[in-house]
């Protein structure tokens, strides 16, 4: 590195690292874990913490796509519905020759990706607002599910789903393993590829991105496709962990996916952020949910508490910086 470059690209100081949102969110998680272990014996046990991370994998997977979409300046409100489609749809496409369940899983993921592509096409070419487009898609999918599956739960058994739900290679839950691999790939895509740079360009200023030669429609379709794919993965993981899928199984994960993204410091206005923040964001969310279940209260009060806590956390870990 020549001396000119040291001025142009100064080394990041360790102190600045501590002010970054992903690190901050991670520290909050650690603080909550330590605090909770003192208050509640057994919370800090390895098994329990591993269980929390396993639950975090579900939210975290859904938050991958949401992170891409939010950084690109959009929002995906169909995440919950796609999770349900995948969890209810996978048993429906279980075929006799497909003993391992891999084929069903592939079809399900492909279908989820296609749903994402449709969202992207609507946003990019019909110029539908992302909220309207994905909300309409969610409503459409819910109707479709009721027609296909009726009100009953559908159970599914295949070696693949069983592995996803309960295997622990080397002590690590399979879901967490899948999450880890997916996280590394998304971080690479977001921060180490030209595609990632275009996602940031699109979210920060789509007009300037267009005039700089960025293929805005293709990038838009790609981020919604990623969101569809990761929501599909979330659905399969849920199915594996639950053993059955039912209409409404994905609903709680819509707010969670968005909350994880925002808690991790990604700007809801688009253009800046990182999935590295959504990871501790997801774990923080399931931790809070876990703590609330301990409180002896009716589901109504739990929900109120959960909503208030998310709001409070957002206030603590920094509101959206004013810009423009």
């Amino acid at each position: 590195m020549n001396p000119g470059e040291a001025v142009r690209f100064p080394k990041v100081r360790p102190r600045a690292l501590f002010a970054s949102r992903p690190v901050l969110t991670f520290l909050i998680v650690v603080a909550v874990w330590i605090g909770a272990s003192f208050v509640k014996p057994g919370f800090g046990a390895f098994g329990h913490l591993r269980y929390l991370v396993e639950l975090g994998a579900v939210v975290g997977l859904a938050a991958i796509g949401q992170t891409f979409v939010v950084i690109a300046g959009g929002i995906d409100l169909s995440v919950g519905a796609i999770i349900t489609v995948s969890a209810v749809g996978a048993p429906l496409v279980a075929l006799a020759f497909d003993e391992s369940g891999a084929f069903a899983a592939l079809i399900t993921l492909a279908a989820a990706t296609v749903i994402g592509v449709l969202n992207g096409l609507g946003v990019a070419f019909l110029r539908a607002h992302p909220m309207i487009m994905t909300l309409a898609m969610a409503t459409f999918l819910q109707g479709l599910l009721i027609l296909l599956a009726g009100g009953s739960a559908i159970s599914a058994q295949s070696p693949l789903l069983e592995w996803l739900g309960s295997a622990r290679p080397g002590g690590v839950p399979a879901g967490v393993l899948v999450w880890a691999i997916a996280s590394v790939l998304s971080l690479l895509a977001l921060h180490a590829t030209p595609f990632g740079a275009r996602v940031f360009a699109l979210g920060a200023n789509s007009l300037a991105a267009t005039l700089s030669g960025v293929n805005v429609p293709a990038t838009t379709v790609a981020v919604y496709a990623i969101s569809g794919l990761t929501a599909g993965m979330t659905g399969l993981l849920l199915l594996g962990m639950n053993g059955q899928g039912y209409v409404g199984i994905g609903d709680p994960y819509l707010l969670s996916s968005i909350a994880a993204v925002v808690l991790g410091g990604t700007s809801i206005l688009g253009g800046s952020g990182t999935y590295a923040g959504s990871i501790p964001g997801a774990v923080l969310l399931v931790t809070i949910t876990g703590l609330i279940t301990v409180v002896n209260a009716s589901p109504g009060w739990r929900s109120i508490l959960f909503g208030s806590l998310i709001l409070a956390l957002l206030l603590i870990s920094g509101r959206e910086a004013r810009r423009r």
Binding site: G4, E5, T193, R198, F200, A208, L211
Partner: protein, 501 residues
Amino acid sequence: MTPAPTLAARGVSKSFFGNAVLREVSIALQPGRIHALLGENGAGKSTLINILSGALLPDAGAVEIDGRVFRGLNPRDAHRAGIAVVQQELGLTTQLSIAENIGIGALPRRYGLIDYRGLARRARAAMDLVGLNEDLATPVGDLPLGRRQMVEIARALFREPRVLILDEPTSSLSAHEVETLTALLDRLRAKGTAILYISHRLNEVMRLCQHVTVLKDGVVTADRPIEGVEAADLVRLMVGRDTGHLFPAWTPSADRDPIIQVSGLSSGVLRDIDMSIRRGEVLGIGGLVGQGQEDLLLSLYGALPASARTAEFNRQRNLPASVRRANALGLAYVPADRKREGLHLIHAIGWNLMLPSLARAFSLSLRDRSKERVLATALADRFAIKGDLTRQVRALSGGNQQKVALAKWTPAEPQVWLLNDPTRGVDVETKREIYALLRRLASEGKAIVLSSSDTPELVHLCDRVAVMREGRIVATIEREALSEGAIVAAAMGADPLRTAA
């Protein structure tokens, strides 16, 4: 002894960010007189209007209403004193009806609610004055631009003003509407209204006005009755400053093969444009603001849907259908509004410098950060962009932001640079650097298309200047015939100088 002016500015000065826009400007609007205010783009006309109407406070000097001095005139005082402004940028709310737009801010009330019947009666009266016969309930968004302008004028008349300020009211009007307006202004003048009339159409000014004030670079260069003045004199008073030292020496380049040739180009406001752009030349695009210059650049760049009878870009037939196609053909575009269109303000300088390259690179290849750092450093050195490149672009001054907007395209080595007002809001030193850069690129055989609202820039920098008016190229002036007067005259249609393009 003349009567006391209804509205006057006495020695007002105003500067923005250290740039003097007005210097000791005085103007006096007499009742029963139509007063013309002339000046080039950026001469300070809009600033003066804003000061007269209380929208801006002068740094020095004062505004007088009926001989009474107002040091801190605010829009409410001005409104109460009967000063009404018809703005150049249409300030109407498109979703509201004509009547509501006319009455807004001064809606008649009854029992605390809007008195729609009273509003309708008075709005209709104002509309009759300007010859609007549309239904009162029509949303303004449904009207064509010229009719909206008339609504804007009716809105000013609704307040029964004693001083009426019109900022280029005829730029979007048809000939018939101009006639109506002219007759109306004559009637208002006879009733004793003081009128300030800003227009770029000299023949209109000569016909309608009795008095003229000319602004040049924020200084009054003439303040006199219009009788006995020739249009050519007015043009001379508006232009002709000494800025030669800013510009690099002009040398013709040997390479002058056409790289882009289009004929019959139409898009949006553009009508039937024929042009050829040659390697090694700086082709200027001149004209008054908003005559289709930006649309021309954008349609050449594939950013606006356009059609052409014939088009040849770098030996390829057809217009580029998209920005990416244009980039592939060797075109680059630097927008006028760098904050909204040219740069990603919240991202780092270095990142902005890399974006066009990243837009072209294979999507899922791995970025080579160290190579990017070397390239960004080299670009920053070459364009004299100082300091840490990990800072957000918005931390830079306007001039440095513009340098980033230019520098980011150089790695792509464009053959054709489309520049939209690259020196707008840029300090003098950066201007000098940009001018030198443009001539250097031309001498390297690149083609530069320079749209500019700054006429001296066109005169000193360009090999040819195409002047646009109302979506057409009305004249192409060769280097030998280039002068500010020639450009301004062509832009205003005072004396069309037609030469073969």
